[in-house]
Amino acid sequence: MSRWATIRQGFLATLVVWPGVAPFGMVYAVSALSAGLSFWETLGMSLIVFAGAAQFTAVGMFGSDAHPFSIIATTAIINARHLLLAASTASYIRKSPTWLRALVAFQLTDETYAVGVQHFNQHGGNAWFQLGSNLSLYVVWATSTIIGSLLGALIPNPAALGLDLIFPLTFIAFTVPMLRDRVNLVVALLATIVAVVTALVLPGGWYVLTAGILASAVGAWLAQRQQLVQKELINENS
């Protein structure tokens, strides 16, 4: 498949997450404007930083006149989870040229990571697909920021409507079909426990990192043990 066709494929495969993202791009814009940011500053953050949770947090901090360094440090903490998403994505697209991986890194998010992994597990790795997926989310995030700025106060609070549930529901649709075997089930159960405990104890997005690292390590250990047992059985039978 040509590059453009693959980019297009990634772009279209990401449409499923648009309904979950667009309301929050709009609300982000409304809250940014009400925190005193101008239209261009509001749109600028979506285009330059492009990280939903960090943008919402930064808006709150701008509103309370926080020091720029504390805003940047908070952003680093919230986005530390991307280390893990990027390491995981790298295992699929490491054969692609450096400049392309550097470009993919600019827009890697929770949502596009999920779309990419699903595709790569079924069809193999290709950075152009990830780029198309990333561009898709960039477009909807920027567009919804603009629409939110224009509509302003007409947007009802999406959390009051329960629309913040779209995000976990989208991820449930990605995750549940993955849990076909015992190791994946154990990983999910363990991630549940570690994530909830961490979320209750530590601020910010640390729970994605702790659960992501610990539960996957245990999963790898279990899978390795299963492989060893299977090898022993084969040896005994031969």
């Binding site: 930083v49 995981s88 295992s91 649709a173 849990l179 659960a211 539960a215």
Partner: protein, 105 residues
């Protein structure tokens, strides 16, 4: 102007987290790392789902909150299990959420 400098700092730390692993992990990873990374997606996905469903931001950080979202997530999981379709899962899950909230109040 300082706000744009703040953006530059925010963008730099965000890009670093996204780019460093993508640029450094070039060669075939050792088998233990490959196996580890294989189980990162289910672990990360679960971590993104569960706290969003069972906790809420309180005045002093996150607190446990078992409300209609939990029922909606269970319905969503069943639909995802049967259909593996994101749009259907989100649609049925949201309807379940509104119905449960209507009944429970």
């Amino acid at each position: 102007m300082s706000i744009w400098l703040t953006y530059a700092g925010m963008a730099a730390v965000t890009y670093a987290a996204r780019a460093i692993p993508l640029l450094l992990l070039r060669n075939d990873p050792p088998p233990w790392l490959a196996l580890w990374l294989k189980y990162v997606p289910p672990a990360v996905f679960t971590a993104l789902i569960v706290p969003a469903v069972v906790t809420q931001m309180g005045d002093y950080g996150r607190v446990l909150q078992l409300g209609p979202a939990v029922g909606a997530a269970v319905v969503g999981a069943l639909v995802a299990w049967r259909t593996a379709n994101a749009i259907v899962t989100v649609g049925v899950g949201m309807v379940a959420f509104w119905l449960i909230r209507l009944v429970v109040g």
